[in-house]
Symmetry: C2
Subunit: 200 residues, 2 copies
């Protein structure tokens, strides 16, 4: 089999593992999750799963890395879009105005894995990496928008840090206090962005 | 025994339960916590614990209610202090510049219980109640500070919501990305408060 085929097959297996893990996490939660529960959701050979991973934490850290990469990489923002469009995309991904079922399930999975980070260095490293990626991405968007005149002349690093805490805190407060689809904290975020970042 | 004695004894028992639960949570984490593990940390009669609680969630919700009350009630802010002193106290409690071991342990306990809120309505109710209490407290501080001229003429509800998300997000980002005592996100919070809230 050609090398490309190997890569495709590995990434397909990896995707199937990620999906099985999300499904198992949603059914059982982190506390009650076992490799067996993930295997039960896995459509491929279960021995493949056991071959790759000894513990649920090894598996979950791979899944987390994958999920955070999707969420945080620069590719998440269209390089041809205007800075205004890019910041809008960033805000919609970080703190959507409404949570559909799929997005809610993804955010809950991340939320639950995050609760392990303070007591598990491997998790903490993944979240620190994602935070740095988001920070870099957002600073670049802000710098470009200031250059083009789309944004006011704010301090990019300070405004980035503020926006990251604001979106993180808004989502956390929503998930722990409400089960509605409408995310009230988004109004406050929009007001902040309109009144301090966007140029008139 | 007089009614007062009963109240004292109940509150003493309650405090001992809370302390045993914190200790057990710090040793075992939520996922591995059992009533037995809490009983092992409990210095009083274990039957007392089993008499009061059937499940660990019943017990944890009481502990959570107690912890959030301590954290969020109006009593947390000295009514005789100036609005500037009150907001300083509020910020120091919500997002301290450095986390000593005791504060870190308390925040981690709350953080871990919070991860249950999206999937457990009783937890969610407690966090929603605490969020409302904090919101009320902060709006009152801001309104008074605007009246006295300590603060600029900001929108109290909007600024409160922004500060609650900013402190929550700052603490979450710190706990999931770092194990240092210095909380970097506090700098951003201070800059925000100085540049938009405090009157010159």
């Amino acid at each position: 089999m050609a090398a490309d085929g190997d890569v495709d097959q590995r990434s397909e297996t990896q995707r199937a593992i990620v999906e099985a893990t999300y499904a198992a996490l949603q059914t059982h939660g982190y506390a009650d999750l076992t490799i067996q529960a993930i295997a039960d959701e896995f459509e491929k050979s279960k021995s493949l799963l056991y071959y790759h991973y000894d513990t649920k934490d090894e598996l979950l850290i791979d899944v987390l890395k994958d999920g955070l990469d999707q969420f945080a990489t620069r590719n998440a923002v269209d390089p041809d879009a205007t800075p205004r469009e890019q910041i809008e995309t960033f805000l919609d991904r970080s703190l959507p105005a409404t949570l559909d079922d799929e997005t809610r399930a993804f955010r809950l999975t991340i939320f639950e894995l995050r609760s392990q980070a303070p007591i598990n260095e491997a998790y903490r490293e993944q979240f620190a990496r994602a935070d740095r990626l988001l920070h870099e991405t957002l600073v670049e968007i802000l710098e470009r928008g200031i250059e083009t005149g789309d944004f006011r002349d704010v301090d990019p690093a300070y405004t980035t840090d503020l926006l990251l805490s604001l979106t993180e805190g808004g989502m956390t407060r929503h998930l722990v206090t409400s089960d509605t689809a409408e995310v009230a904290a988004r109004d406050t975020l929009d007001t902040y962005v309109e009144s301090t970042l966007l140029a008139d």
